[in-house]
């Protein structure tokens, strides 16, 4: 009898352990840049909630860090290979490429076919290396020229200038009216590149810019010199906020929203913040005019599918993490689009209601694009990107001439 009782008790104990194991919750960690001030913050919260609801027993621990600090954090974690999350936000091309090269990222080829119908192959190019998929792109951005039409009207302009000559004239008119033409953060060098790259692509064309990034063509090109000279001309003519060098991008964006600048040229991810601000009805989005019509067209643009989720190779749950990355990516693509924050990489409902009018305008620009080259600091490797940004900073400060910019980059990067 005692034996039977002890066997029964043991069986109950084993069963309770099994059920405890069965009910154990799996937690996937996700690192992203979607801090509270990020326009995708709410989209991430909603995406995680939707995934958790559809997958009982799975939780996602979301850890957010602001843009620049995030780059340091993810690189340090990738270097040590310890404490890595299961899923992480990344930019495509050079940024993710270095992690892929080091074997830190999970190959997603086995999982992609399930979602291929909704995530077109053309959108995965910036996260595909040697023909294999390593990332789930969820939104794309371009460099957009936001214009405060009220201020432009005060200076006598009814629309965004369509030619470079008109743009210069418009800036002079704005200055004469006591309005600062452009807002830019000189403290965050990538913000300066949002002005330089459109000038370069509209001087030499997309194909050549891509060749330069790939190391096939040289930086020491007359078109690059022309673009940098035009940029420096805008600086010396005081078209930028004189406080630019001391301002961060958030401050500049807020200044634009507060009506301090006529133009703000930055990533189209700002649609969310600008679109929900009071200023929104007076804002028009466009693109910087062509500098050299012989080589470039108005609709050659900087940008592309870039915001991406990837899975670390060290994850304990590769299948679940890959599924989460795709499901979250799909949700984010749609949520970012409908909230007016960004353009989708996944097929979107053409009749979906979007929160502001800026996104359809940007979508229209993308639809008309002749060519699109990814942001330089994402395209290039970390070391090359920082050298490149350094040179842009020096050009902005007037420490080097346009010729020295081209020669210097050619000698250091080519």
């Amino acid at each position: 009898m005692k034996k039977l009782l002890s066997i029964l008790l043991a069986a109950i104990m084993v069963l309770s352990m099994v059920s405890a194991v069965a009910e154990e919750e799996i937690t996937l960690t996700l690192w992203s840049i979607a801090t509270e001030s990020d326009s995708s913050h709410q989209s991430f919260i909603d995406a995680i909630a939707a995934f958790e609801a559809a997958n009982p027993g799975v939780k996602i621990a979301h850890d957010t860090t602001a843009n620049e600090a995030y780059k340091t954090k993810i690189k340090a974690a990738m270097s040590s290979g310890e404490g890595l999350p299961d899923i992480f936000f990344t930019w495509g091309m050079g940024f993710l490429g270095e992690f892929v090269d080091a074997g830190r990222v999970l190959n997603l080829d086995a999982y992609y076919p399930t979602y291929a119908a909704e995530l077109p192959e053309v959108m995965t190019g910036n996260s595909t290396y040697n023909g294999s998929h390593y990332g789930v792109p969820y939104s794309m951005s371009i460099v957009a020229l936001y214009a405060n039409m009220d201020l432009l009207k005060k200076a006598g302009w009814e629309d965004i200038p369509a030619t470079y000559e008109d743009m210069i004239k418009c800036c002079e008119d704005l200055k004469a009216a006591g309005i600062i033409p452009f807002g830019v953060s000189g403290k965050e060098l990538w913000c300066l590149s949002e002005y330089v790259e459109p000038l370069v692509i509209k001087s030499i064309g997309g194909a050549k810019l891509r060749d330069i990034y790939n190391g096939v063509a040289t930086w020491n090109d007359p078109g690059v010199v022309k673009a940098i000279a035009a940029f420096q001309d805008m600086v010396t003519k005081e078209y930028f906020d004189p406080s630019a060098i001391a301002l961060g991008n958030d401050e500049v964006k807020n200044n634009f929203i507060a009506g301090k600048y006529a133009f703000y040229q930055n990533g189209s991810w700002n649609n969310g913040d600008i679109g929900k601000a009071e200023i929104a009805p007076n804002v028009k989005v466009g693109t910087f005019p062509v500098l050299d019509p012989e080589n470039a067209t108005l609709m050659q643009m900087i940008g592309g599918p870039n915001n991406t989720l990837a899975v670390t190779a060290t994850t304990q749950y590769p299948d679940l993490a890959a599924k989460a990355a795709f499901e979250l990516g799909k949700f984010l693509s749609n949520a970012d689009y409908t909230s007016g924050a960004n353009l989708p990489c996944w097929t979107a409902d053409p009749n979906a209601e979007v929160a502001n009018d800026l996104i359809p305008a940007v979508a229209n620009m993308v639809a008309q694009a002749d060519d699109m080259v990814l942001f330089g600091d994402n395209f290039l490797s970390a070391d090359a990107a920082n050298t490149y940004l350094d040179y842009i900073g020096q050009a902005f400060a007037g420490d080097i001439t346009a010729e020295e910019f081209a020669e210097g980059l050619a000698s250091e990067l080519n």
Partner: protein, 292 residues
């Protein structure tokens, strides 16, 4: 003999945990940094041995420009010794005379040391803000509008604008060290000197300052090595910008390590900083020893 050996073994065994900790936390990382400094390593792939190439590049590369960073650090070290420590000594001597509200003054001057550097950085960012900062507003209200500027953006002023809060933050720290030393000066020594007709200035010069020289030496070592290693406030205020105008070796190291993925070169700067700190500490010791 046996007893003596057992006694020494006991000492060794008791010291062993601390020794292991010391080697593991301090000595081993220094040697690891030294070994990485001879490699080309992006932190992801295996390091490649390249001998002294990083050292050659460090002192010849225009894009790294270590000499500019070193010049900034040495300037800060000079200012720390000649302005910060002089002011701290003056405060300590004044407080050593037991003025009314001595404790209150001590707390007030020491307060910046207790505040987080990030908070201090944010505070000074607001002070220097070109649009609503107290500094520009004060100048405008005094009719000195032409003096207003973008303090952290103008290359002529940014270095000094960064040095002011750094010097301000640690005045209280050095003052407290010196104040403690002054409090240790025997009262009878001061009274005897006063009876002999010593003025206050003479008392400070011939009695108190020589008496606290060991503390002054420590303060100078802290000020100089602290300046060479300075990072946090500069990182918050300018992150080495604009255009590297406020770059110091530590900000350069962080940039190379975490933004450019150049772990070999970052380690080279780390090794250079360790060597410089040791050399300066030895030199300062030598100067104070000679004077002794």
């Amino acid at each position: 003999m046996k007893k003596s050996f057992g006694y020494k073994l006991n000492i060794f065994l008791f010291l062993l945990p601390a020794l292991i900790l010391f080697i593991g936390v301090l000595i081993a990382p220094i040697f690891m940094s030294l070994s990485y400094s001879f490699t080309e390593w992006n932190g992801l792939k295996d390091p490649i041995f390249i001998g002294l190439d990083n050292y050659k590049e460090l002192f010849t590369s225009k894009s790294i420009n270590i000499m500019r960073a070193l010049k900034n650090s040495l300037l800060l070290a000079g200012l720390s010794v000649f302005i910060q420590l002089t002011f701290a000594l003056w405060l300590a001597l004044k407080l050593g005379k037991k003025p009314v509200g001595e404790r209150a003054y001590l707390s007030i001057f020491f307060m910046p040391v207790l505040i987080s550097t990030v908070v201090i950085g944010q505070l000074w960012l607001k002070i220097y803000n070109p649009d609503y900062g107290v500094l520009n507003l004060a100048l405008k209200s005094l009719g000195l509008e032409s003096w207003t500027r973008v303090w952290l953006g103008d290359k002529k002023t940014v270095l000094w604008a960064c040095f002011v809060p750094i010097l301000w933050q640690y005045v209280g720290y050095h003052m407290l060290l010196m104040y403690a030393g002054i409090k240790g000066v025997p009262t009878e020594l001061c009274e005897a000197a006063m009876l002999d007709g010593c003025t206050e200035g003479q008392l400070n010069r011939y009695i108190i300052i020589p008496y606290i020289k060991p503390i002054l030496r420590v303060s100078v070592i802290f000020a100089v090595t602290g300046s060479l290693k300075s990072f946090d406030l500069i990182y918050v205020l300018t992150n080495g910008g604009p255009n590297h105008a406020t770059e110091v070796p530590s900000t350069l190291m962080i940039n190379l390590l975490f933004l450019r993925n150049r772990y070999g070169m970052g380690s080279t700067i780390a090794v250079m900083l360790i060597v410089l700190c040791f050399v300066f500490a030895l030199l300062i010791n030598l100067v104070f020893k000679e004077e002794k």
